[in-house]
Amino acid sequence: MRVAITEYLEIDLDAERWLCRRCGTDLGSARDNYKRGLLVYDRDPREIHQPILDPERYRFTFAPDPGWCRILEYYCPNCATQVETEYLPPGHPPTRDIELDLDDLKRRWTESK
């Protein structure tokens, strides 16, 4: 039995595994942080939010300051779908965002069936 948790992640309740919803790749134990099953890239935010004002002339350009802000991009290791983005200061530990009670989830879905 699979439960969709986000646009790109689901949990196989029987196997207790995180899976990619696009390609079915196993991303690790559903009792663990799903991010451990993904690839991560430290993106310079100016590559996504490009300066609209001339950076040679101005201190503030509509682009984030890369010394203050980085974008962590999380990809499925198989299909490379961008599962999450996380805006953080350089070196800040990523947040373990989802930690659902797997036993509660199993109970709910068993009862609902």
Binding site: I5, N33, L39, I52, Y58, P89, P93, L100
Partner: protein, 743 residues
């Protein structure tokens, strides 16, 4: 001391209270009050749900009528575009019925005001609560959000003289005599620079305002006409609600009415608990950052850990930045709660009755003395600069609970843009009158993308579902402000994703025919974005304040074609010879604007949803046609191949480019655990003014890696005056250049 004398002294000290301050017990408890004797009696007799529903509808219509009356007659600019609410409260002070339009944020923050009156003034011989009394408050330390908001409330009694309920209206009035005009001073360094601070005060009797009190208030603000006009208008709206309630009570009975109010609250809480119980149990976290105190850039951490068990939700913000003791960006706890309630009232369960029971099953945990739960001595006129990001943190949490739910009441939503991108103004207008207030553009926030649709462009603020952007002509009639480019969308200003966030418009403003008139701006997010994406989508960009000084744009209107009146064109092409062009963070304290000088800001974007490589190529092309994105962004972010002349999509080449990008992703990224070894640092980087917890939330940083304290002992940060910092920098440069400064 003789025993009798000692006993008398102790009795005197017990009975003599020399100072009533804010009551933390009241402020910390937003749950519904226990049923009153009257409620118990009424509810035992009246439990017909159809009658409850009918009476609730009648009361909702009553609140709605008062809302429109205020909107149509209010003098404050905020009233004209719906920055207000009208509500009916239980006798113990719980909001049971609110108008559907306006600022629902007010829904939770009014309760402490009424609780205070009931606890301290009801039995106080010099005050009391009697038929015909009129009360008012402005001090956020006793309820409300910040000092520009003024409420008015009256008790309503049964025919037998029992207190049945309260009626309250609250309006963002703006001008309040604070250190800067307009009522929301970012320059305030103490609460006593933030304008009139009025705890709950009886301002009238026999349904009539006391002229001495009104005169005191008028003489405390820059706009005395606004003060008296809107006090009368607020009272009039309260009386309209009372008149309707009296009619309803005559048609039914006071007991049926009181029972309906209380059943409405209890039924709403029961329904919220039922809906919460359907969420999966677990913990969801998010971390956001505000990058400014409005006086200087500072990286202010706001993190939430949401723990859901059964039918309760705990929102734990411990580890958030300490408060800033001489900056106005601190939040009083109930204002935080009011804003968090917005997420549920407006974005998650908008179908529920609008009352504060919606938030009753939630518990909020904070560090007292943090930026989200400040002490009474911390200024808080610009509390939005921390409680708006806290709202965004919650908006990032909720979808991760409800995506798995079989029944949702709204779509999955990426974060809404969360800053008030507007001009606060003040000075002497073209008629010689002193005014101070703000423009309606604070209501122009862009919507986040949804799980099946793009976000709406500049649609409504996060604190109110239904407001208005006002009429430009009315603004120009009342103030010297001229917006040369009022509402033109800016290209590439959106959160990219499978569905993109809404985009915002640019504003180019100046003044005309006024010598002593100026602006303020108040947003965070000039170095670190304030709004983020969801499930692989990107967030908003960052936003500067752009100025062009030393020019009179009115002399240049004919010289510059209309299409070149954009922020990017003016700043990059510098069409005005001899003018000074500069950019700044968005925390500008009040400054005088000379005729024709340009102040330019851009309304923020909503967060994107999903991987941009999954966006329908035809939607990308439509965005190019609509000038929402550039051709460069279409190729760079969305990897869409198209003919630049015809804008026709090359589907095969798009597929190839997207697959190529997916392969590139795999090459450049690393497995999470391996990545962490290099990425994670034990403390904030040297040179980054960082405030709040880093990894371990028990350690709070206060501006540098060395300056830290255990959580609970980081009671506040005092910042230096940015002008002193700048002077020191310039003096240092002069010394290094060999110039001798005479001290």
């Amino acid at each position: 001391m003789a025993t009798a004398v000692k006993s008398k002294l102790e009795q005197f000290l017990d009975e003599t209270v020399v100072f009533y301050g804010p009551d933390r017990e009241i402020l910390g408890d937003h749950r519904l009050a226990p049923r009153s004797v009257l409620e118990e009696r009424a509810m035992a007799k009246h439990r017909d749900p159809h009658t409850t529903s009918l009476l609730r509808s009648k009361l909702e219509v009553t609140a709605e009528e008062a809302f429109y009356q205020l909107e149509q007659t209010g003098a404050a600019p905020g009233a004209k575009w719906g920055d207000l609410i009208a509500g009916i409260f239980t006798a113990e002070g719980d909001l049971a019925v609110a108008s559907s339009g306006g600022v629902l944020l007010f829904s939770v923050v009014c309760q402490p005001v009424l609780r205070y009156v009931m606890k301290y003034w009801r039995n106080e011989p010099t005050v009391g609560v009697r038929p015909g009394d009129v009360f008012m408050s402005t001090d956020p330390r006793f309820g409300n959000i910040h000092t520009p908001d003024q409420n008015m409330f009256i008790p309503v009694f049964t025919d037998e003289g029992e207190l049945a309920l309260w009626v309250m209206v609250i309006v963002h009035e703006g001008e309040n005599g604070s250190v800067e005009p307009g009522g929301m001073p970012s320059a305030a360094e103490s609460p006593y620079m933030e304008g009139i601070r009025m705890p709950p005060v009886k301002v009238g009797e026999n349904f009539t305002l006391r002229r001495d009190v009104v005169t005191w208030l008028q003489n405390s603000v820059r706009d005395p006409m606004l003060q008296i006009q809107d006090m009368k208008i607020r009272l009039s709206a309260c009386l309209k609600i009372k008149e309707r309630i009296d009619e309803i009570a005559r048609e039914y009975s006071w007991e049926e009415l009181v029972a309906a109010l209380r059943w409405t609250l209890e039924d709403t809480e029961a329904e919220v608990r039922r809906r919460l119980a359907a969420w999966p149990d677990g913990t969801v976290r998010s971390t956001v950052f505000a990058d400014s105190t409005l006086r200087e850039n500072a990286l202010i951490k706001i993190a939430v850990e949401a723990r859901k068990r059964g039918d309760e939700l705990v929102l734990d913000f411990r580890g958030t930045s300490p408060q800033f003791t001489n900056r106005s960006n601190n939040t009083v706890l109930h204002a935080l709660k009011g804003m968090l309630a917005q997420e549920f009232l407006t974005f998650v369960w908008p179908d529920l009755p609008r009352n504060q029971a919606v938030f009753a099953p939630m518990r909020v945990v904070t560090d007292y003395g943090s930026a989200l739960d400040c002490t009474p001595e911390a200024p808080n006129a610009q509390s939005m600069m921390t409680f708006f990001p806290a709202f965004t943190a919650l908006q990032m949490v909720v979808p991760k609970f409800i995506y798995a739910c079989s029944r949702r009441y709204t779509k999955i939503l990426s974060p809404w843009y969360n800053m008030i991108t507007t001009f606060i103004y003040g000075g002497i207008n073209q008629y010689g009158e002193t005014v101070g207030n703000l423009c309606a553009d604070l209501n122009g926030m862009s919507g986040g993308a949804r799980d099946d649709a793009d976000g709406e462009n500049s649609i409504s603020p996060i604190f109110a579902a239904m407001t208005d952007l006002g009429e430009q002509e009315v603004l120009e009639e009342e103030t010297p402000i001229v917006k040369i480019v009022p509402h033109r969308l800016m290209t590439d200003n959106c959160g990219f994703g499978k569905f993109r966030g809404g985009t915002g418009y640019q504003m180019i403003a100046t003044v005309r025919r006024a010598d002593a008139f100026g602006f303020m701006t108040t947003c965070v997010g000039s170095k670190f974005p304030s709004t983020y994406g969801l499930f692989g989508g990107y967030g908003a960009p960052t936003y500067p304040l752009c100025k062009v000084k030393g020019v009179n744009a009115f002399d240049k209107l004919k010289d510059l074609p209309e299409e070149r009146w954009t922020v990017a064109s003016i700043m990059n092409e510098r069409p005005f010879e001899g003018a000074r062009y500069s950019t700044h963070h968005m925390g500008m304290q009040f400054e005088i604007v000379k005729q024709g000088e340009l102040y330019m800001i851009v309304q923020g974007a909503g967060g994107g949803y999903g991987d941009p490589l999954e966006r329908d190529p035809d939607a990308v092309i439509k965005d190019i046609r609509d000038a929402i994105i550039s051709e460069s962004t279409a190729r760079r972010i969305f990897k869409v191949a198209f003919d630049a002349r015809t804008l026709s999509v090359d589907a095969k080449e798009t597929e190839r480019l997207r697959n190529e990008e997916r392969e590139a992703r795999k090459r450049r990224a690393r497995p999470f655990d391996e990545f962490l070894k290099d990425w994670v640092k034990p403390a904030p980087p040297e040179g980054l003014p960082y405030y709040g917890a880093w990894d371990d939330r028990e350690t709070i940083y206060m501006g540098s890696p060395e300056r830290k304290a255990p959580r609970g002992q980081a009671l506040g940060v005092t910042m230096p005056d940015p002008r002193d910092v700048r002077i020191a920098q310039l003096e240092d440069m002069l010394r290094k250049a060999g110039i001798n400064l005479q001290e």
